[in-house]
């Protein structure tokens, strides 16, 4: 919503400065977005051409001597055909920025003659498109004074960013009322005098869709003389960015902004028969005032005559019945439309107009008749003519909403003590009608505030006018205890997973929740109910079933930029379904190139190798450990999902059913679909699948038992079938003596012809901690025998000799 300061002062008697007004508007909820104080036009002064001589070297140029009102005349080279001695115009001195040509002037030489400034055209000042000559002012224009002030172009323009709950502030009058209520002046409240009409308006109106049109007023004015509107009106419209068209159209625009009361004018000669307000019909269309044809539907409200649709109700008029300079008889329309229909229609058709802006917020129904009277008066002032009587259809009455308002609500909700009298006075100044004098009063809501429904709305009115700044901060009641833990287990684990992975040299990425359909399908997603109906781009179409596609794509983007060794992770949501329960919390990561834990790339002490399944496994286990999963009870199995390399991937399980994660290198087909290349490995850990930690009655740790006897290590190497998993072998060794054997590690694995086909060797180191006595050679032999026997039993392996 834009308006000028002088326009505001048409309705507000005030001595406040521009700055005061701007500050007050913002503080009462009419946020000022921009103020153009027209400073750009200040440097232009009125100047008189004293002499004009032909340029010695150019046929179309003249050398002017110009009186700028101070000191000696200045020399200006000018190409305008109307430049002549005696002309009074607008002069720009060197150093002035000329907006229409986007140039800051300097003293220049034009064909060898110095020019100390410029006589300007209207286009150069961005006043109009006129550029056939320089500005030619009347002879009484005061030389040496500000051109902007003389031409009333110094009227500051204020733009406010209007929230949807202030329909009354779509008109300058409503803004003035708010300012006056806040104590910044006095509202000028001259009532609109009705204009007597002669005879009935011959065109009748039939409202066939009363749910979409509350009231419709129509008035014929005969014998108008349409043409350009007067300069003051044109200037006001131009100041707020509207193009003057003709007096009748300019009048509707003026009242739209002045009163928030959109109007429409029909050329009566072009209207066939009576007007019908009805829903649009399938197949109908209308050529609108913007020159485009719109198809209307039964969800829209239209105004039609015998020829068909003439106007899209509340949104835009039709070209066919519009007014031009030949219009003799004009029909003025003022109506109140159902706001949601106007909003939906405008949205569907993609039409943004000043009428829609107001109609969809809700028009003051009580001002419908005064609105058409005001329009009639203005038409007669601008174009003459003889008005007929107003034809009104629909509902003319208005029953205000009444809100029961305990005045104590102001204190209850805001914390400020506003005296009751002041609260009620504020409401009264805003046009509310207060009845009663008890603790609870009855407040009738004015017709221009359809947004006000309940007592909280009234509190807002009192608060914004009384002043939000009056509300001093007040601490929340203290909870009186030291704060306990505020995070849930899942939140703690999410945080722990992030830090644990970052400590492993990985960088946290945040990637889009929506991914390309083919990526989603590859990872088990792509279901219809997880596809966006209106994606912003084709490759952001499906809710992700996994974090890996986004991370692999991100790793590849980095590689394409020349950073091929990257380690990225993300801990976030994936979507197995569209319910809250099927949104998972997953930690996932990828490593690419040589981005190993210890570092990537070449190094004098040894180059990093390409990443692989075990890097991913280590990352996954680190996450599980950080999240407090029972790491010693996890099982690692084969059988990871299809996007992994079947021979270089694993599943992490807790018990037979609970899958905590997957890790591995990727399937070549998956990499092809993801358009990525390796070496590449990744993992997924389902953070939400890790069981809740058991509540412990104490923080005391179990007692530490330290053996007094020396711990020892013994090595064994077994030849087993190639298919035997190391995990089975180490478990068997560990189980050989649960008391003495404290650990088993694999230190060598190899295959070779000497071992026989289909065989491999696994070498393990066993840590032994004697607890009761130092072990004798016989004890060690017995222990070794148990290890060998158990391994043989569980794996079929034999001790290598």
């Amino acid at each position: 919503m834009k308006f000028t300061l002088s326009w505001l002062k048409d309705h507000l008697e005030t001595d406040a400065t521009l700055d005061e007004i701007v500050e007050r508007l913002t503080s009462i909820g009419l946020e000022v977005e921009a103020v153009d104080d027209k400073a750009a036009l200040k440097p232009f002064v009125i100047a008189k051409v004293l002499t004009a001589a032909k340029h010695p070297d150019a046929d179309k140029l003249q050398v002017l001597s110009v009186d700028i009102g101070s000191g000696a005349p200045v020399q200006v080279v000018c190409g305008a055909p109307n430049a002549r001695a005696g002309l009074i115009g607008a002069f720009a001195a060197p150093g002035t920025y000329v907006p229409g040509i986007d140039v800051t002037l300097s003293v220049g030489k034009i064909r060898g003659v110095e020019s100390h400034g410029m006589m300007c055209s209207e286009r150069e000042l961005e006043l109009s498109d006129e550029h056939n000559g320089i500005i030619d002012l009347p002879q009484d224009a005061p030389v040496g004074t500000s051109f902007a002030a003389y031409a009333h172009l110094d009227d500051p323009v204020i733009e406010i960013n209007l929230t949807p709950n202030h329909p009354e502030a779509t008109g300058v009058y409503g803004i003035a009322r708010d300012l006056a209520a806040s104590g910044l002046g006095k509202l000028k409240t001259a009532p609109v005098e009705p204009v007597a009409g002669k005879g009935a308006t011959p065109v009748k109106v039939r409202i066939e869709a009363p749910d979409l049109c509350r009231v419709f007023a129509l008035r014929l004015v005969r014998n108008v003389k349409n043409g350009p509107s007067p300069k003051w009106l044109q200037q006001r419209l131009m100041a707020i960015g509207l193009r003057p068209i003709n007096a009748l159209v300019d009048m509707t625009n003026y009242i739209t902004f002045d009163r928030g009361r959109p109007l429409h004018v029909f050329d009566a000669a072009k209207v066939a028969g009576d007007l019908v307000v009805r829903r649009g019909k399938e197949g109908e269309s209308v050529l609108a005032l913007d020159g485009r044809t719109y198809a209307v539907t039964s969800d829209m409200c239209v105004i039609a005559d015998d020829n068909g649709v003439e106007s899209i109700a509340g949104v835009m008029g039709g070209e066919h019945s519009g007014c031009d300079e030949n219009t003799k008889d004009v029909l003025i329309e003022a109506a109140v439309w159902e706001p949601l229909t106007v909003a939906r229609t405008g949205r569907t058709l993609g039409i943004i107009t000043d009428a829609r802006y107001r109609n969809e917020r809700g028009i003051d129904p009580v001002f419908n008749s005064p609105g058409i009277e005001l329009a009639t008066r203005m038409v007669m002032d601008l174009c003459g003519g003889e008005p007929a009587e107003v034809e009104v259809s629909g509902e003319t009455g208005f029953t205000p909403k009444v809100v029961s308002f305990p005045v104590s609500e102001v204190k209850r909700l805001t914390g400020i003590e506003v005296p009751k009298a002041e609260s009620l006075d504020i409401l009264t100044r805003l046009g509310f009608v207060v009845k009663g004098d008890g603790d609870v009063v009855e407040v009738a809501v004015p017709s221009w505030r359809p947004d006000v429904d309940g007592k909280a709305d009234l509190v807002e009115e009192v608060m914004r006018i009384h002043g939000v700044d009056e509300i001093r901060q007040q601490p929340l009641s203290s909870h009186g205890v030291v704060n306990g833990k505020i995070l849930t287990t899942l939140q703690i684990r999410t945080r722990a997973a992030k830090r644990a992975l970052a400590v492993r040299g990985m960088m946290e990425a945040v990637t889009w929740s929506f991914i390309p359909a083919k990526h989603a399908e590859l990872f088990g997603g792509g279901q219809k109910h997880l596809k966006l109906a209106n994606p912003i781009a084709a490759e952001m179409s499906d809710m992700r079933p996994s974090l890996l596609p986004g991370l692999v794509a991100a790793a590849q983007r980095n590689a394409d930029r020349g950073f091929s060794d990257v380690a990225l992770f993300e801990v976030s949501g994936t979507y197995e379904g569209d319910t809250p329960e099927t949104q998972r919390r997953v930690a996932a990561g990828v490593r690419r190139g040589t981005a190993k834990l210890d570092g990537s790339g070449r190094h004098w002490a040894g180059n990093a190798q390409g990443v692989g399944v075990f890097d991913a496994k280590a990352d996954a286990l680190a996450v599980l450990e950080a999240c407090g999963a029972p790491v010693d009870r996890l099982q690692i199995e084969t059988g990871a999902p299809s996007w992994y390399h079947p021979g270089r991937s694993g599943v992490i399980k807790l018990g037979p059913k609970v899958v905590l994660g997957h890790f591995g290198e990727f399937h070549p087909t998956a990499l092809e679909v993801l358009d990525a290349s390796g070496p590449l490995c990744g993992f997924e850990v389902f953070v939400d699948a890790i069981p809740e930690p058991k509540a412990k009655p104490t923080c005391t740790k179990p007692k530490l038992e330290l053996s007094a006897f020396q711990a020892v290590k013994r090595d064994f190497a077994f030849v087993v079938d190639k298919t035997v998993e190391a995990g089975t072998l180490t478990r068997a060794a560990l189980a050989a003596d649960k008391k003495l054997i404290t650990g088993v590690s694999v230190f060598d694995v190899f295959e070779g012809a000497a071992l026989g086909a289909g065989k491999k060797s696994i070498a393990i180191e066993i840590s032994i901690q004697p607890v009761e006595k130092t072990l004798t050679d016989e004890d060690f032999e017995a222990l070794a025998k148990r290890v060998v026997e158990n391994v043989a039993k569980q794996t079929g392996g034999v001790l290598r000799t």
């Binding site: 929230t163 949205r347 400020i416 901060q473 960088m507 004098w604």
Partner: protein
């Protein structure tokens, strides 16, 4: 063998010469055996003492023992000298170029995304004020995202949200991607009786894309409901938060009346800042105002939708952009880069894994 003074001198100088000439431990051991071993030259001399008269022994005893002691000392000294030389030689041989670079520790390379870091900062501050952290699903129903939050069906305010919809499954209402974290207000009220003090960080989605808007972004919602919470309390919470978050001792904030369907009264909040230095924003000083959040008293219809009686309970709520306050605090110029995973950006704007924000240690230091 007849020991006289002259012989002893000759023997001593010969032995000392041998000791001095010994180049390694082996050589010196040979000298020791030759002199002090069972049949060594000095040992043999000592044996002669037994056959001597008391007078002879009085002369020869000290002389021979003196010889033995001097030789023993010389042997020990030479041995130590040789050992030191051997150590010195070994040290020279083992010398390396210590300017060669070592691998950076993984914890030095790893990074936490600014969004995670800022969420941790937020949790630290609000945890201190007695708030819990709540969360909710990204995929929402129309009810939780709009209707329960007092957005009437067909209301233009819904349009301000540029909602992403999902395709409807057979026979079901189409779900949507939440346009704000406010649905969690309702979800919380449904399961928790007041007093409620929560903040809700999370992903939100709107169809928008430019330097300051991305189709996915992060919001922080706050909700306080009890029997007395009012605008003055809200001012306190928000001003204390902003001071703590931007780490300035004081900060001017401007509360302006505004409109949101789910609060009444509604306010928008600007914070004082200085934008006069290119590429840098300073808070707590300057003459500029920057919009930072929207807030208000929870609308009676929203309380009712959450199953609470608006005449019994009251409270306030606010929402702000996590990405936006991260950009303001740490100076990232473009929001889109947050979601690009460019390792150069992450390395520069990301945080070290062990830099954990706490109030006792300072949020960002």
């Amino acid at each position: 063998m007849n020991a006289n003074a002259g012989n002893l001198e000759v023997l001593e100088s010969a032995l000392l010469a041998d000791i001095a000439a010994s180049a390694d431990e082996q050589a010196i051991e040979a000298v020791r055996i030759a002199a002090l071993g069972k049949k060594g030259s000095v040992s043999e001399l000592l044996k002669t003492l037994g056959a001597m008269t008391a007078e002879e022994r009085q002369v020869q005893g000290p002389a021979i023992n003196g010889l033995k002691n001097r030789v023993t000392e010389a042997l020990a000294a030479r041995k130590a000298e040789l050992k030191n030389a051997a150590v010195a030689a070994r040290l020279v041989a083992e010398t390396v170029d210590v300017t060669l670079p070592v691998r950076q520790s993984p914890a030095e390379r790893g990074r936490i995304h600014p969004i995670s870091q800022v969420v941790d900062e937020i949790a630290a501050i609000f945890g201190d004020m007695g708030f819990a952290i709540a969360e909710g699903p990204d995929i929402e129903t129309d009810h939780y995202n709009f209707t329960a939050l007092n957005f009437p069906v067909g209301h233009p305010a819904r349009e301000m949200h540029d909602t992403f919809f999902l395709q409807a499954a057979e026979g079901n209402e189409a779900r949507l991607l939440r346009t704000h974290t406010s649905p969690v207000q309702i979800r919380t009220m449904e399961v928790q009786k007041p007093p409620i003090r929560i903040v809700i960080p999370g992903k939100t989605y709107r169809m928008d894309s430019d330097a300051t808007h991305t189709p996915m972004f992060h919001q922080l919602e706050g909700l306080v409901i009890d029997r007395t919470a009012n605008v003055a309390n809200m001012r306190w919470v928000l001003e204390e938060f902003c001071k703590a978050f931007f780490e300035v001792p004081s900060l001017k904030m401007r509360f302006r009346p505004s409109f949101f369907p789910f609060t009444e009264p509604s306010l928008e909040v600007d914070i004082q800042c200085d934008r006069s230095r290119p590429g840098e924003v300073r808070f707590g000083e300057g003459n500029d105002w920057m919009e930072i959040l929207g807030c208000g008293m929870v609308h009676p219809n929203v309380l009712r939708a959450g199953g609470l009686d608006p005449d019994e309970y009251q409270g306030f709520a606010w929402g702000m952009g996590i990405d936006r306050i991260a950009m303001l605090k740490y100076g990232m110029p473009d929001l889109r880069a947050f979601f690009d995973a460019d390792v150069r950006w992450l390395s520069h704007y990301g945080f070290r894994p062990l830099d954990m924000p706490t109030l006792f240690g300072g949020l960002s230091t």
